[in-house]
Amino acid sequence: MLKNYIKTAWRNLWKGRVFNIMNIIGLSVAVACCIMLFLTVYYEFSYDKFHANLDKIHQFYFTKNGAEKVEKATSMPAPLTPAVKAEYQDIKYITRMSNGGTVVRYGDKQLEESIHFVDPDFLKMFTFPVVKGNTDAPLKDLNDVVLTEFAATAIFGKTDPIGKSVELNYSGEPKTFVVSAVVKDFPPNSSIGFDVLLRFENTPTYQANMKSWDHHDHSVFVQLNDNVEPAAFESRLQNFVKKTFKTTIADMKRDGARPDAQGNVYTLNLLPFADNHFDTELVGLEGNSVSKIYVLALLAIGIFILVIACINFVNLSVARAFTRAREVGVRKTLGAGKWQLLTQFWVETLLVCLFALVLGIIMANFALPGFKATFRSQVSMSMLLQPIQLVVIIGLFVLITIIAGLYPALLMMRYKTVMVLKGSVNTVKPGKVRNILLVTQFSLSTLLIVCTLITWQQINYFKNKPLGYSKDEVVSIPVGNSVNGARALELFRNQLNGQPGVVAISGAYDNMGNGKDGSTRTSIIGFTYKGHDVRTNIQGVSYDYAKTMGIQMIDGRDFSREFATDSNAIVVNEKMAAQLGRKNVVGTYVAMDEKHPQLVVGVMKNFHFRSLRTEIEPLTLVLSGYEMNYIFVKVRPQNLSQTFNMIEQKWKQTFPNAEFQGSWINENTERQYKAEQRLSTIFISGAIIAIIISCIGLLAISFMIMVQRTKEIGIRKVLGANIAGLVLLLSRDFLKLVLLAAVIAFPIAWWLMNQWLQSFVYRIDIQWWIFALAAFIAVFIAFITVSFQSIKAALANPVRSLRSE
């Protein structure tokens, strides 16, 4: 029986091969996309799931309900952990965690490894199972060190590491530790990553920190007892907060803090560790958080593409079904039961889907490297072989074949046998369902076009918005760790002085945008000024900073070598000046720390020293006390690349051992919008694939309809219709549908993109012409597709088409 089904199915598929090939191409592209997209989504959602106690682990963070904004911070003071643990029975385990890097020395081997300072509870809470050594209490002693398998192999090779002494240097002076245990390597989808674990007491300034409640510098994770509700525990914690942070709370209230619903201004809260990977709001979380929006966008686009391909499938099968109604009728007279017929059609669908699946997997295999690079995805094809994925694939596969295969089959079965055999079934019916499906397809496609256009516009806006400083003619060079920043700046200044093309040179603590070194630094201080709280970003700079960066001074002056006292002076931006609250802040003293009031010598026009996602914040420039991590060189606008090469040459001459990682600042600022760029790439690729698949469907359906209307076209031509009129006549119905689809997509697209744009402080307005353009693109592409067939039909010889009836 099955053999027979497959044989007939194969012959039928071969007979309709033009359509089936279109079908298979569309489907397999969709399969390939879905495999990559869904695997990525799965991967992102699988983050940290390997921890057995995941649901019970939470991270502490403070919430400050300030007068103007709510600030959340994950940094905790060192004495907090023992104090909370002693006071609350709710806590099963608690650990502090602080990260760093260390040089590991064993024998004559020396390696750089990353280090986590934790409390012993760490290994009980998180699932990093010990594979070798002390399984019960791996961090019992202060000089215990725990390694991952990976790190252990790197350091010890094949020797057994347990009990061996290693020398770690993470604070300037080497200390000796004894390897107590080796833990299993964590999977790539782990937020917490480390090579080496040490007791938290080994952090360099531990003793001093334990005495201070004001020094917040590490994370704290708790595992609650099984019956404890996190919310209830949070509210119980408030007692402790009120008692311990009395002065902080008093200061906040003085500055007009706005209490939350429970009347608290300062609270200690819990972030479920399960949410860690998708939390982009809190800073200082473990691992690289990703925005859920991006993951959901991937998921949505995957679903869109799959839906569009399935719609093609259904539409094409239905269109073919009309031509096969007679066969169904005959088979019924030969005694075929309903289920036998349905099975026959299902087998055909199954074969097509199977082809598409195999082809899709092959395509995905080829496309995967590019995909991984573009979307920073970690997936691999082997992930497909995990049980969950297999079940999902098979389930989805069967579901799709049932939906796509059964619906057309049921449609065919509905015909009265007698009618079909008499040949009186009207096969030209446009079909409401088909139109609805076409509209759905093109709605999704138009939606993606609109999303593409708007993300593009927003990114362009980012690129072109004046930032208040010169980004196109300034090279930023990360100094690196091998040389001292201030020394390097001085040396390099001398080297470049008088070089043609160079306008000015300066240095700073923090970069502009994201440099090639990939790091950003933030330094914020808060102090009390004339009875109110002032917070400002601090940027340590060298002389000529304003000149080099092209920042405008609106009052006073930049730092100058002519004033020896400038080492204790500050330059502020307008925002900061406004906070200081007077008309003329130049010449006044500001006491950022109580002992040394600093003279304000200048006020800068506001400029965007951070990304355009955020408002401009108060900024204070200081001359001393900060490392010079970056050197800035402003050059003349002529011969930019030549000057850049010269700078690189000079750098290599001056610092033969330091890598040159210089880049133009406009490259750095563009790098800040990588996430947006990636989203835009997702949308563009999604839109293109969606449109291609939709058009394959449209092409096939229009072809089918032209065949059915051959006679009508012939008659019209005989009656004197011209080609253009005929093409229009034949395309009109489709274009109407596409236009309708666009109109349906608009409000959804508007709503979605408006939501997205809300996350930017500086953003474009959505303009009507975006929608007009999107509709035009959709209609235009559809028109080309359809007219391909209609022109062919209209040009056909009418005599022949009439005779063919």
């Binding site: 029986m1 027979n4 044989k7 007939t8 012959r11 039928n12 007979k15 007679r326 066969e327 009728g329 005959v330 088979r331 019924k332 007279t333 030969l334 005694g335 075929a336 039961g337 036998q340 009265k416 046998t417 007698v418 055999l421």
Partner: protein
């Protein structure tokens, strides 16, 4: 074997009913060879389709092999049909995608007969109809007469008790038609298959044992030969 009592079939056209069959009663015994004649539109095909359970009457009683067909469920009816009835069409209605052999084999598949047995039955049939040499050809590669031969072979493969043929010779020339009629006669005589055929040709009608003349949905006259 077959009894129709007060069978009517009408279509609602506009406000009034158009009767295609009007209170028609008819009995047919096992082993008969009945020819139905009548002008175009008199309801011959409709009657045949009702007998073959492809169509349903609007009212009336229909018994087949002592079963009240008018009371049966779709499933039971198709089981009855599968077991006892074979159909031959004017337009042959072979399945284009299947070879001669496969076309003939198809009803057996739907009767869930095993492969080996199927092979034997089909081989017999091919032999009997002298079309062994054509077994791997597709319908489009055959002449009309040959196609109808395959159609009849296909209708007979399930060993039906009743063979229904709607103008089986309508698309054939008179010589081909004669051959088909001879075949019918032989099947009727040798295998005892009851045959009901619709025909426009007096000559072909006379192969039967009884001729029923329809007019406007009623039996106008019956001639027993």
């Amino acid at each position: 074997m077959l009894s129709l009592q007060h069978i009517s079939k009408y279509y609602q056209t506009g406000g009034n009913k158009t009767f295609v069959l009007n209170d028609l009663s008819l009995d047919i015994d096992q082993g008969e060879f009945v020819s139905i004649m009548g002008p175009s539109g008199s309801g011959k095909s409709t009657l045949l389709n009702i007998i073959g359970m492809l169509d349903e009457p609007t009212s009336g009683y229909h018994y087949f092999m002592d079963q009240p067909v008018h009371q049966l469920k779709e499933k039971q009816r198709s089981a009855l049909y599968k077991q006892y009835i074979g159909f031959v069409f004017q337009a042959y209605h072979l399945i284009d995608e299947l070879t001669v052999l496969e076309n003939i084999e198809t009803p057996l598949i739907y009767q869930n007969i095993k492969g080996a047995e199927r092979k034997a039955l089909v081989a017999d049939m091919l032999d009997r109809f002298n079309i062994v040499g054509k077994k791997d050809l597709f319908p489009a590669q055959l002449s009309g007469g040959q196609q109808q031969l395959v159609g009849i072979a296909r209708a007979l493969i399930g060993k039906p008790k009743l063979l229904l043929a709607d103008e089986p010779t309508g698309n054939l020339n008179s010589k081909q038609g004669e051959e088909i009629m001879e075949l019918f006669k032989k099947i009727n005589k040798e295998d005892g298959v009851t045959i009901i055929q619709v025909t426009h040709s007096e000559k072909n009608a006379e192969y039967g044992s009884r001729i029923i003349n329809l007019l406007d949905g009623r039996i106008e006259s019956t001639t027993t030969l």
